[in-house]
């Protein structure tokens, strides 16, 4: 298993947000993490990436215990993510945003002092431009990231996450706010990424999207895992239906 | 001897307390560190000297000096808070610094750089309590400070304007949506701060019989230390912090000489920022936005 969570728990104040959560993801797999609002899905991502320390339990990346490791080291070991509320660096251009993530591949003082200059000649800049071109975003390369439309920013964030050459990619509501055409484009992009061997863990509310992309799903409610099964079978699970009672999401 | 030092410290502290209240109001309600406040202090003090020297009766001089604080505060408000935009969160702080420079240098241009001595048109009376001497004007200053803050406390808790201010402190955008007349209420914060500071400047000039274009930098700036030590955003904390800083200063002079004052007062600020940034009475920790 490339990513594994064992008995993870987290409380804020007196409130237990994640309760003894365990699940694993196999290499190259596409796993969906779903649940009603407030189930703790983003919190799980935050725990995995080290935004918060876990109260108890373990997180394992490539069978290595990363539970106490500071966030930047987790990224340098091949864990990348996108955010529910896009977090691009507003004062950097699109291409600079992408280049930021390149550092994680070979972090060192020397790497920090490497020129990233101007023009096509520079290797890092060329690589970032190529990645943007592959995503159809080359035209935006020189634009300030903060000024772009939402859909473009989401795509840039994905390119940025990939620039770190991750083994595992955590996607927090990648389809949120996208229209059907954009959602379809996103699906194609993620399929391509998965085919290249990147393991995907996707938090999503769009069940159609989940159904097409992820064969397996883990269902969360109130911080507990209430189901873990093939995507097609969640309708049959009574606890899942109960959790979504009244919600149209599962339809 | 010790009691005298403590009394002296408290008297000086009341000067800091008023300035600290002005600082803490701006931070607490507007999340804005108003660096122009020492400028109000200095202008009020210099104006007091100037008016008294020109023979103006002291009640009028007092009124004018104190009012100057309110007027200058309104000027600053127009160019700082009014123009606060989301992206450039440091702008109000920076602009307030520019105002401090403006006020200090205008006074330098107008009245030169000398420290001025005040000759008071009235006798200063002192009370004796055992072996301790308390100058009555200084006691009045302390009483003013406490009274002013008590009134402010009342304003904040019991009046409509006060509720508006507290709502703005929570969240300026929500406040506007809830119908708080932000455009009318925010100037109140500035004016109150300006008046308090100017009052403090006037009292200082009268009690210590001196005023200089640098008194903002040298004295009122310590109000920031008082504010943080007492707890940012807490007006009673500002009083406590001010009195504490005053006492610390007097004892520092006593123990180490006048040149050690800055080290002690600002060293205390530094220590509090590292160890307990919420201050003694627990102020607010706010996100970003200067």
């Amino acid at each position: 298993m490339v990513l594994e969570i064992r008995n993870l728990s987290k409380s804020f104040g007196g409130l237990k947000v994640i309760d003894d959560l365990s699940f694993g993801v196999a290499r190259g797999e596409r796993l969906a993490l779903i649940g009603p609002n407030g189930a703790g899905k983003t919190t799980v991502f935050n725990l995995i990436t080290g935004v918060y320390p876990a109260d108890s339990g373990g997180i394992f990346l490539e069978q290595t215990d990363i539970t106490g490791l500071p966030s930047r080291y987790r990224t340098r070991r091949g864990l990348a993510r996108t955010f529910q509320n896009i977090r691009l660096m507003a004062h950097l251009t699109v291409i600079e945003n992408v280049m930021i993530a390149q550092y994680a591949r070979a972090p060192s003082v020397r790497a920090m002092l490497q020129p990233v200059g101007f023009g096509r000649a520079n290797r890092w800049r060329a690589e970032a431009r190529a990645a943007l071109a592959e995503a159809g975003l080359e035209a935006y390369a020189g634009e300030a990231a903060g000024a772009l439309p939402y859909g473009i920013q989401k795509r840039v964030e994905l390119v940025r996450a990939l620039a770190a050459s991750p083994h595992v990619l955590l996607l927090d509501e990648p389809a949120a706010g996208l229209n059907p055409a954009e959602t379809e484009a996103l699906h194609q992009v993620l399929e391509a990424i998965a085919r290249r061997g990147v393991t995907l863990v996707v938090v999503e509310h769009d069940m159609q999207f989940v159904g097409r992309l992820c064969p397996r799903v883990v269902v969360l409610n109130f911080g507990c895992k209430i189901a873990e099964c093939a995507t097609g079978e969640i309708h049959a699970d009574a606890r899942v239906r109960e959790a979504y009672l009244g919600s149209e999401e599962l339809a | 001897m010790l009691e005298q030092q403590v009394v002296n410290g408290l008297m000086l502290g009341s000067v800091y307390a008023l300035v600290a209240v002005a600082f803490t109001l701006a931070i607490g309600v507007l999340n804005f560190l108003n660096f122009s406040i020492p400028g109000f202090f200095m202008v009020a003090g210099m104006l007091t000297w100037f008016l008294l020297r020109a023979g103006i009766p002291w009640p009028i001089a007092a009124l004018l000096a104190i009012a100057s604080g309110g007027l200058l505060a309104l000027l600053v408000e127009r160019f700082t808070y009014r123009l606060m935009s989301r992206s450039a969160h440091f702008v109000p702080l920076v602009t307030s610094m520019a105002f401090l420079i403006l006020f200090e240098n205008l006074v330098l241009v107008g009245w030169g750089s000398d420290m001025q001595r005040l000759s008071l048109p009235f006798e200063t009376v002192s009370w004796r309590l055992g072996s301790t001497v308390i100058a009555v004007p200084q006691l009045i200053g302390l009483a003013c400070a406490v009274l002013a803050v008590a009134s402010l406390d009342f304003l904040l808790k019991k009046t409509q304007t006060g509720r508006g201010l507290r709502t703005i402190a929570e969240d300026a955008d929500t406040a506007a949506m809830l119908g708080v007349a932000v455009g009318r209420v925010v100037p109140v914060v500035f004016v109150v701060g300006g008046l308090f500071t100017a009052l403090s400047g006037f009292l200082f000039a009268v009690n210590y019989q001196q005023a200089s274009p640098f008194m903002g930098e040298e004295i009122a700036l310590k109000g920031i230390s008082a504010m943080v030590v007492g707890g940012m955003g807490n007006i009673w904390g500002a009083i406590l912090g001010g009195l504490l800083i005053g006492v610390v200063e007097i004892f520092a002079i006593q123990g180490f000489g006048a040149r050690a004052v800055d080290i002690c007062v600002y060293g205390l600020l530094l220590a509090i920022l590292f160890v307990r940034p919420t201050g003694l009475l627990g102020g607010v920790i706010r996100q970003q936005r200067m």
Partner: protein
């Protein structure tokens, strides 16, 4: 070159170094109100070196810069645990404490000022200034440039992208301190006299303000800021106080109309 023109150019050269000393922490998101403290540390330690150890002024200046840098690095540990306004306040407090400490050090003259006879001429000052400009320009063409900007934009996201936030912030702060120390040391050895009274928070404020005037989005901004601050008074020929009045009004105007400063970032990506 006339003596007057030369002293103006020397001031310009020194102000440019000061501008970058403030610029580096600011790009990393730190409002450093303690710049003046490091200028003073550099000036006084360099002066002490050349006075007491009879070191040649140029190595003394470098020593002064190093001392300022080391102290900056040490102080960065506690200071960088604070953020935003607390950081600004901590650097402000630091500035006053340092100034207060120097005022008490009679070995370097205390409140009476400190003469530093060893002289550094205009050519050397100018050379240092140019070197600093080149270094800063080069630094911002490296990954360091975009990384510190990233940290100031969104610290959490930068951390999650694998950047060492503390390392970058510390580097910017320390480099700023070293540059400030260099500027101070050069000033001490050119004008041959320094006074602790000049290194209060207001001096830091002047520097920060003229950097903001030029703009912190590009490496050219601080140059423009330093130039305006140094040359404007010469054009206006008023008393020192009048110059600052005009400067303050200029700042207020700029902050009202164009808070990002005069020079804005053009995208460097050219096809």
């Amino acid at each position: 070159m006339s003596g007057y023109l030369e002293s103006v150019l020397v001031l310009l050269a020194i102000n440019v170094i000061l501008a970058y000393a403030a610029f580096l922490p600011m790009v990393a998101g730190q409002l450093n109100l303690g710049v003046a403290a490091f200028v003073a540390i550099g000036a006084y330690s360099a002066g002490y070196c050349s006075n007491s150890f009879f070191v040649h002024p140029v190595p003394a200046a470098l020593a002064g810069s190093a001392v300022a840098g080391i102290i900056g690095w040490l102080v960065a540990f506690p200071i960088l645990r604070t953020r935003g306004i607390y950081l600004a306040l901590a650097t402000f407090a630091l500035n006053q404490v340092v100034q207060g400490t120097i005022l008490n050090l009679d070995v370097v003259g205390g409140a009476s000022g400190y003469p530093v006879p060893a002289h550094i001429g205009f050519a050397v000052v100018a050379a240092f200034s140019l070197a600093v400009i080149v270094l800063v320009f080069l630094a911002f063409r490296t990954r360091f440039g975009i990384s510190v900007t990233a940290v100031s934009d969104d610290e959490r996201a930068a951390d999650l992208m694998g950047l060492s936030v503390r390392g970058l912030q510390s580097a910017a702060f320390t480099a700023g301190a070293a540059l400030a120390g260099l500027a101070g040391a050069l000033y001490a050895h050119h004008f041959n006299y320094i006074e602790a009274q000049n290194y209060g928070v207001l001096f830091s404020i002047y520097i920060v303000l003229y950097v903001l005037l030029g703009g912190t989005q590009t490496v050219y901004g601080p140059l423009l800021g330093a130039a305006v601050f140094t040359l404007l008074p010469e054009l206006l020929r008023g008393s020192a106080a009048w110059r600052y009045v005009i400067f303050a009004c200029l700042i207020i105007a700029i902050m009202s109309l164009r808070p990002q400063g005069v020079i804005l970032k053009r995208s460097w990506f050219s096809k």
